[in-house]
């Protein structure tokens, strides 16, 4: 189903960009359309990155990264140690991160692609830039005006679709 949905979103990007091209719009309005297109492209790229990680890791769990898991062993009261607060001891364990785990993020997919030389460092740079652009979706995290969405950004993002599509 992911492929059909990616095709649907590709079509949405095409509709948006055709609309921008065929309509007289102010720069501000164009930026708004480009914002929508960019977010859609970022979601497509994240989907493609996910599929490439999946393709390059063994089923069924698709472990793709070693990560650390911390579990509490004991809690020593401050009164016993004479410290200002309780001391918690944790055991650190190395565990594999599965592709569908909560901690499996766009950032980690990108790193996997880079570390396994599936993408070049330049391509990784583009992917990481896209991740940051995608994160601008979270309006509460913005520290400056949410402007500057341009055609060149859309083209840069589309470039990522192009180089990832040959790897899925």
């Amino acid at each position: 189903m992911i492929w059909e949905n990616i095709i649907r979103r590709l079509n949405a990007v095409k509709c948006l960009t055709a609309h921008i091209k065929g309509t007289r719009l102010s720069t501000k309005d164009k930026s708004s359309y480009y914002r929508s297109a960019l977010i859609i492209i970022c979601s497509i790229v994240e989907g493609l990155a996910y599929e490439i990680v999946k393709k390059n890791t063994p089923p069924p769990d698709h472990f793709f990264e070693d990560t650390q898991k911390y579990s509490e062993v004991c809690n020593i009261r401050s009164s016993v140690l004479g410290t200002t607060s309780d001391v918690h001891l944790y055991r650190r364990q190395k565990v594999g991160l599965k592709i569908n785990d909560e901690g499996a993020t766009f950032a980690r997919y990108n790193l996997f692609l880079k570390h396994n030389r599936i993408v070049s460092s330049g391509q990784y740079k583009t992917l990481d830039w896209m991740r940051r652009e995608r994160n601008r979706l979270h309006i509460q995290g913005l520290t400056k005006a949410d402007v500057d969405y341009t055609k060149i950004k859309i083209k840069r993002a589309a470039k990522a679709i192009s180089f990832l599509i040959s790897k899925v």
Partner: protein, 53 residues
Amino acid sequence: MVAKKEKTKTNTETKELLREASATSGYFKREGFSELSQIVDYAAKKLRVKPSR
């Protein structure tokens, strides 16, 4: 001092933007894309013919 730092940051961002714009334009030329819609069509076509989807 803060204003100077901000200006330097903006200059670096602008430089990076220009560099990326040039790289993107080069990529489009190399791959034979002139329009964004061509990449979209190319990607959709590739996905449609993917086996075992």
